[in-house]
Symmetry: C2
Subunit: 388 residues, 2 copies
C-alpha cells in the first residue's frame, strides 16, 4: 500500500549536448570561491577540464582544485578535501565526474563547517548535518549512481574495511546537475557496463520488496525495460547517442527517490557489493552484478509473487501454463542472459575475492530488513560462496 510519504527533489537538471551552456548562469547564483572537484585525468584528456576552467575564469571565480578523487572515495581523501575547502573559504563545490566525485563532493559539503569527525558523525552514527551546508553542483561524466539528483554519499574507510553510504536530505542534493550524454562516451566499455548494472540494480533494490501492485512498481518496470533496450544498443555501439542518452536519463530516475515512494526497499545487494568492494576495491557496479543472482535466487521463494511479476512485466515472459516458481525462475534466467550479453562480471572471484576473504566480507556486510528475507551470517556466506 502507498503509505504516508513526502517527495521533494529540488535539483535542477540540464540535459543534452548543449547543457554545459547553462553552467555560467547557474554559477552566477553563488559566491566567488569555487572548489573544483574531479577524479583522474580523463576530463583533462577529453578537454572538459579546459572548458570548465574557461567558464570559471569567464565568471571571474576564484578556483581551488581537489583532483584525484578515486572510484571509491576514501576517508583520507575526504579529510584532504575538507582542508582544502576550508582554506579556500569555499562558497560552492563544482563536482565534475561520475557518481564518486558527486558523492565525495556532498561529503565535503556537509563537513566544511562541522567540527565533528565526518566519518564518525555521518557514516557511523548516521547523524544529519546541523552545520551550514556548502552548495554543490555537478557536471556528470558517467551514468550510474544517480548521485546527480539525490542526497546519497558513499565513503570507504580502508583501515576499518568499511564502505558506507549515507542518504542525506534535500538540502544536500545538488542545486543543479548538467547531464551531457557525450561526456559518458569516452568511458571504457567495462565502466559503461558497470554503470548500466548499477542503474539496473538501483531499480531492483526498490522493486524487490513489498507486496503491492503500486505505481512505483510500474514506473520501475518501465525504467528497467528502457535500460535493457538501450543497453543492448550501447554495448554494440557505445557511440549511439540515443542509447547513451536514455541510459543517462534512466540512471537519474532510478535513484532520485521517485520509485521508492510509498513502498519498502531492500538494498541487500548493495550491502553485499559494498562489502566486496571494501575488500577488493573492485568497480562498484561489477560487485553488484557478481552478487545479484546468487542473492535473488536465494530470496526468490520468499518473494515469489514479485519475482513472477518481474518475469512477465520486465522480460515479457508468458505466464501461460507455468507455476509461479517456474515463471519466477525464468525471469531470473532472462536477467542472467542479459547480464552475460552486456559483459558483466558474474563472480566475485573474478573481482579478486578469495576464499579466505569470505568470512571477512560476510562480517562487513550490513544486514538490512526491508527485503523478502532477512539474512543471517551463514546465509550471507552461502550467497558469497555461490559467487566464487
Amino acid at each position: 500500500m502507498l503509505g504516508n510519504f513526502s517527495y521533494h527533489n529540488p535539483t535542477k537538471l540540464y540535459f543534452g549536448e548543449d547543457s554545459l551552456g547553462n553552467l555560467k548562469t547557474e554559477l552566477s547564483n553563488y559566491g566567488n570561491n569555487i572548489l573544483f572537484v574531479y577524479g583522474g585525468g580523463s576530463i583533462k584528456k577529453s578537454g572538459l577540464y579546459d572548458e570548465i576552467i574557461a567558464i570559471l575564469n569567464d565568471c571571474g571565480k576564484n578556483v581551488a582544485e581537489v583532483s584525484g578523487v578515486m572510484p571509491n572515495p576514501t576517508t583520507e581523501k575526504l579529510y584532504e578535501g575538507i582542508n582544502i575547502a576550508r582554506e579556500h573559504k569555499t562558497d560552492f563545490i563544482l563536482a565534475v565526474g561520475g557518481g564518486s566525485v558527486c558523492d565525495y563532493s556532498k561529503a565535503v559539503s556537509v563537513s566544511i563547517h562541522c567540527d565533528d569527525d565526518p566519518w564518525e558523525k555521518y557514516f557511523i552514527r548516521f547523524e544529519e548535518p546541523i552545520c551550514e551546508i556548502v552548495p554543490v553542483g555537478c557536471v556528470l561524466t558517467m551514468a550510474g549512481t544517480g548521485s546527480e539528483m539525490n542526497g546519497g554519499s558513499v565513503i570507504t574507510n580502508h583501515e576499518a574495511k568499511l564502505k558506507i553510504g549515507h542518504v542525506f536530505g534535500d538540502d544536500v542534493m545538488p542545486k543543479f546537475s548538467i547531464l551531457n550524454p557525450r561526456y559518458t562516451m569516452t568511458l571504457p566499455k567495462y565502466q559503461m557496463c558497470a554503470g548500466i548494472y548499477d542503474i539496473f540494480n538501483h531499480i531492483c533494490e526498490q522493486y524487490f520488496s513489498g507486496e503491492d501492485d503500486n505505481t512505483s512498481d510500474y514506473i520501475s518496470e518501465g525504467l528497467m525495460k528502457s535500460l535493457i533496450h538501450a543497453s543492448r544498443i550501447a554495448v554494440k555501439n557505445p557511440q549511439d547517442y540515443e542509447a547513451r542518452s536514455n541510459i543517462m536519463w534512466t540512471a537519474t530516475w532510478a535513484l532520485n527517490t521517485l520509485v521508492s515512494r510509498g513502498k519498502s526497499e531492500d538494498w541487500m545487494v548493495h550491502m553485499l557489493g559494498q562489502a566486496v568492494g571494501a575488500y577488493t576495491d573492485a568497480t562498484h557496479g561489477m560487485t553488484l552484478a557478481a552478487v545479484s543472482l546468487p542473492y535473488y535466487r536465494y530470496i526468490m521463494p520468499y518473494g515469489l509473487k514479485k519475482f513472477s511479476r518481474f518475469a512477465t512485466g520486465v522480460w515479457g515472459i508468458s505466464a501461460e501454463g507455468k507455476s509461479d516458481e517456474q515463471l519466477a525462475s525464468e525471469g531470473l534466467s532472462a536477467m542472467e542472459s542479459w547480464m552475460k550479453e552486456i559483459g558483466l562480471v558474474m563472480k566475485i572471484s573474478e573481482l579478486g575475492a578469495t576464499e579466505d576473504m569470505i568470512e571477512g566480507i560476510a562480517d562487513a556486510t550490513f544486514i538490512l530488513n526491508g527485503g523478502y528475507k532477512v539474512l543471517d551470517h551463514d546465509e550471507v556466506v552461502q550467497i558469497l560462496k555461490a559467487s566464487m
Copy 2:
C-alpha cells in the same frame, strides 16, 4: 531522440492519510494574509473546510475566502478573485479542491500584482509573468489534472467561447501540495471516472508523438498500466484506498513535465475536448474521452509504429502474426473496451453537443502540430462528427 531539455520541479508533495498534518509547518514559511480558495460545498460537507479553518486559526493567519470556483473557472470568477486577493493584501493562496481550484489559484497568483488584463496577457498573448507571483499551496480533493505539481492553468472565457490553458514556469508551480487519497473518495463516481480518463489522456498526449523508443515512453507505459489496473479496482470499489492512492499518485506524475522530457507532444485531444467544453460546459475528462477514439483512429495510420507499441506495451497484446495495422487497431479496441468498462462517455452528443454546434466547435479548436498528423478544419469536423 532525447534532445536538449531542462527539468526542475520544486513542488514539495505530502502524500497519504496523515498528510494534512504538514500544512501548519508549511504555512509557517509564508506571510499572514491567506486567501483560502475552494469550489462548491463539498469540502464543507466532508468536514475538510472546518479542519482547514482550524489549522489556519491555529497558525494565527488572517483569512479571506474565494468560494464557488467552478469546474471550468471563468474570466469573471478570475477577476472577482483578483479583487478579493488585492483587498486582502494576500501573502499566500491556499487552494483546496481539484484541478480547477488549483488552476484558478495559479491564475490569481500571477495577476494580483499585474496591471494588464490577465485573460489577454496570459491566455491570449501567452506572455510570462514579470510581476511578483504570490505563492500557492494546494490541498487536493480530486485526482486528475496534475495541477498540484505543474505550472498549468486553464481558464474559460464564456463570452469568447474559449477555454485556454497556459503552462507557466517553475515559479508558478505550487510550493507544496497535500495529497490525501481519502479526500477523493467523496467524489461522485462520474467525476472519479472523468478524472481517471483525464490522467490517461495526459499520458497519451505526451506518448503519441515522436518516433523514438526513449525512457519517457517506457515511463508513460508504466503509468498507463498502473492507472488501468487501479481504475478497474476503483470502479468496482471506489472506497479501495490502495487503488485511489495509485490513481492519485499516477495523476501527479502523468502531468508534472517528467514524461514529456526530450520528446515532442501532441495535445490535440485536449484542444478538441476544450472546444467541446467551451460549448457544452461538460466535465473536462468526459470531453476528452468522447473525442479520443475518433481522433486516435484517424491519426493511427500516421503513427503506426507507436500505436503498435501501445498495443503490446500497454495492453499486452501479442504481435505474433499480425500486421502493424492490425496490432495498432487491436490496441485501440482494447482501450475502447476499458473506457466502456469504467463508464466513460464515448460521444460528444451525450455531453450536449448538437449538430449545429459542430462548425463552431471546430472553429474554436486550436490546431497544434506536435502529433502524427496536423489536422485541417475539415478533418476536425470529421472527427467531431464521428463522436456524435
